[in-house]
């Protein structure tokens, strides 16, 4: 038993600090592609994003120290631009999903237990609340207020936009696996 628990501790240590910058970038690209093609909001990878942004800051500082006209400066600048694009695109896609599915996302956040990790970062949560409130206030002030008393509420069942979790996605296999069970699609034989 103690042997196994030692092994587990070792593994978790490796996961923490020992990833090289290249590995973090690889993970960021993976997270970016996953988020881009998934129909609903995935787990947040704020640790990877924060780590990458720190790296960017360091690279910018290093460039400032290098002498003018040095060729490496251009290469580093390109890399900085590229990484910044990936981070921006990733965060933009998440924000787009938070805005579209705001009601859904806030509902899920209320329902989850304390042990489950949240899919939203605290800032995204705040943003979802603010955005939802501003849209609701706008609708109330412009229209719902002036409607007959029976119609002044919006029925959440009818109005919330839910992500289509049944939409088709492409998967890329990273490791060779045998025997993955795919649910048979029930088709109406006509």
């Amino acid at each position: 038993m103690s042997d196994i628990s030692n092994l587990i501790e070792e593994d978790s240590d490796n996961d923490g600090e020992a990833m090289t910058a290249a590995e973090v970038l690889q993970k960021l690209e993976e997270a970016w592609l996953n988020e881009k093609f998934a129909p609903d909001l995935l787990e947040n990878k704020s640790d990877i994003v924060d780590c990458m942004m720190d790296q960017l800051q360091e690279m910018e500082n290093n460039i400032k120290l290098a002498k003018r006209g040095d060729f490496k400066v251009s290469l580093h600048r390109m890399e900085i631009d590229r990484i910044r694009f990936i981070i921006s695109s990733y965060l933009r896609r998440r924000l787009e999903k938070v805005e579209r599915f705001a009601v859904c996302v806030l509902e899920a956040e209320e329902k989850r237990d304390d042990e489950e990790a949240s899919r939203l970062t605290p800032e995204e949560h705040q943003y979802a609340k603010d955005y939802q409130e501003s849209v609701e206030m706008h609708m109330k002030n412009l229209a719902l207020r002036h409607m007959p008393p029976n119609s002044q509420k919006m029925d959440p069942n009818l109005t919330t936009i839910r992500p289509n979790v049944d939409s088709y996605v492409f998967l890329k296999v990273n490791k060779h696996q045998e025997g993955v069970l795919v649910e048979e699609e029930s088709s109406d034989a006509g």
Binding site: Q57, F85, D130, S134, H138, A143
Partner: protein, 194 residues
Amino acid sequence: MFGEKALELIRELQRSGENSLPPYNEDGVRQVLEEMLSLFEQNQKDVSDTVAGQTGLFAGVQLRHSALERNKRCVMAYLYNRLQHIRKLRWEFGSVLPQEIKYNMSEQEVQWFNKYNKCLANYMRSLGEGGLDLTQDIKPPKSLYIEVRCQMDHGEFETQDGSVIILKKNSQHFLLRSECEHLVRQGILEHIVH
């Protein structure tokens, strides 16, 4: 016919297409709301008549109820779609809207735009150290420097390494992409592709 004015609102939005926001049809919305109120009052009258003993009014009540629901749905759709359009404008134009576009928005829509601006700014400021502007870097970077031509006089422009360039109409420059991207988007500079 009930619900026609509401349909007119939706058609107006659809006709103007993806790129322009038509002026806020205050009259149209007001007329739809008035129609809803009158339908509701007629229904109330019919319901109290039925309770008093009159028969044969149920079909009318149902018809008016459906019309009420349809009007409500159309108005909600009209308002919501305008909001989505305005949100798109923030990402295209930045936090200050040109006067012609603002002219087409109602006062509450302008207020919503400001609120959205604030929300977005708060979120962007919280990313990393000192914030990350998500409205830059919309396209993947193809090259470090780009060649641009000035479309109008824009005065002096200081680059990152300190040299000052004068942006005169039709002058061409070779600048860092990240520095002039926002000017290209505003239309002041034109990206020259060979």
